[in-house]
């Protein structure tokens, strides 16, 4: 493994942990897509190391962890990783608020794909609150970005 692979894996593990952490009932719809945020960061920072395959594997673990249909999150995250890697040069130079908007769109893509698959395979209606996690995730982006950037610099991941 190259320099700092463990840091990347650890950040994904923490994101997965946050994704299944029990929350009170009212707060559950507001849970941001932690693993997607972390994936987007690594796709922007190190597109040559974390890409579509990384997103797909991460999604597979999310599926197993949450008991969702195997492949549901894998497909969605692979697509998010693809779009992010394709656009990583542009997103890197954006000012922070514009970055937030771009991340919000990426998060929406993931939610939308997940929702399509859920809608095809079952007849569960999605409440309006389903989308609120995206907003929370986009608002949290600057902090996720700063924390992961500092981590990356400290451990010289690259």
């Amino acid at each position: 493994m190259k320099q700092g692979g463990l840091v990347i894996l650890a950040s994904f593990a923490v994101a997965l942990l946050l994704a299944v952490m029990p929350l009170p009932e009212w707060a559950r719809p507001f849970r941001p897509q932690w693993y997607t945020l972390v994936l987007i960061y690594w796709c922007i920072a190190l597109p040559e190391r974390v890409g579509v395959l990384g997103g797909w594997l991460l999604g597979l673990f999310v599926d197993v962890l949450t008991g969702a249909l195997l492949g549901q999150h894998a497909l969605a995250l692979a697509l998010v990783a693809f779009v992010t890697v394709t656009l990583h040069r542009r997103i890197r130079v954006m000012p922070r608020y514009q970055q937030m908007a771009a991340v919000a769109v990426l998060l929406l893509i993931e939610k939308l794909l997940s929702l399509w698959i859920v809608a095809i395979t079952s007849n569960n209606p999605a409440p309006w609150m389903y989308w609120s996690g995206t907003l929370v995730g986009a608002l949290l982006w600057p902090w996720v970005y700063i924390i992961l950037r500092d981590l990356r610099r400290r451990f010289r991941v690259g």
Partner: protein
């Protein structure tokens, strides 16, 4: 994804991957467990004494009921012997604990801390202290996923306790609602009726309580009544669940053949 939705070929793979995510689940569950441990350790003596007292009284009451039940069971078996029907009661149960992690919000599922090591099998009925909760859909090495009866992909055969009217309780995806479709408008079902498992389909043992009817709506022009029931199990509050091995299943070896069939109650 299609393979996972339609069959059980990916069970093995899921099981293997679940071992990798096990530490994450254990870690996520830690705060809940720690909270429980702390409140237990620092509970006051009086509270413990009170609880002890309450439990002793409850136990006494249950014992008294049990005596009656034993007599009734013996009588029931005798009558069934007379009728020459092969009916076995007395199921083996195991207590499992919930693991405190949040699963996919679109499915009504829970994670329990017993798995293949405790000889769980796919399709095994899961109960709480009051009623039927659901069935096991995914058995891993040391934990398993249970789908609740209110999941929108779940259906289980029930009958009305009062008159034996049969129906199917279908999950709605909402935690306190079941619907019983395809009951004709003139069916004898009322608000307050108890629904129990009918044992048809062979997945759930017969006679366990399931739900209580909360509304019956007759819509003019529609051939079927709209019947809504509320599960009697505390699906969103329980901490411990009971896993049941019924005699029927062990005798006929349903357990080994179950692998091939979809994780639904029969009749869906």
């Amino acid at each position: 994804m299609i393979a996972d939705h339609n069959g059980s070929r990916l069970q093995r793979m899921r099981e293997a991957l679940s071992l990798v995510v096990l530490p994450i689940q254990a870690l996520a569950d830690l705060p809940t467990r720690l909270g429980g441990w702390v409140s237990e350790t620092f509970a006051s003596r009086n509270a413990l004494l009170e609880e002890n007292d309450r439990l002793r009284r409850g136990n006494l009451k249950l014992k008294a009921r049990l005596q009656q039940f034993d007599a009734l069971q013996a009588e029931n078996m005798r009558l069934r012997d007379l009728l020459d029907s092969s009916y076995k009661i007395g199921d083996r149960v195991l207590i499992a604990e919930l693991v405190g992690v949040d699963l996919d919000p679109f499915k009504q599922q829970i994670l329990i801390d017993k798995g293949r090591r405790s000889k769980l099998f796919r399709g095994q009925p899961v109960l709480d202290a009051d009623a039927v909760m659901g069935q096991v859909t995914q058995v891993n090495a040391v934990n398993s996923i249970v789908v609740l009866i209110t999941d929108s992909s779940h259906a289980l055969p029930v009958q009305v306790l009062r008159n034996g009217l049969r129906g199917i309780a279908v999950g709605t995806g909402i935690i306190d609602r079941l619907k019983i479709p395809h009951l004709p408008n003139n069916a004898d079902i009322r608000v307050g009726d108890r629904l129990v498992t009918s044992g048809l389909g062979g997945r759930f043992p017969p006679g366990y309580p399931v739900a209580e009817v909360v509304s019956v709506t007759h819509q003019p022009g529609e051939p079927f009544a709209e019947v809504v029931a509320r599960p009697l199990a505390h699906l969103d509050r329980v901490h411990e669940v009971l896993l049941v091995w019924s005699h029927d299943q062990n005798l006929t070896g349903v357990t080994s053949k179950e692998e091939a069939s979809p994780p639904l109650g029969a009749g869906s």
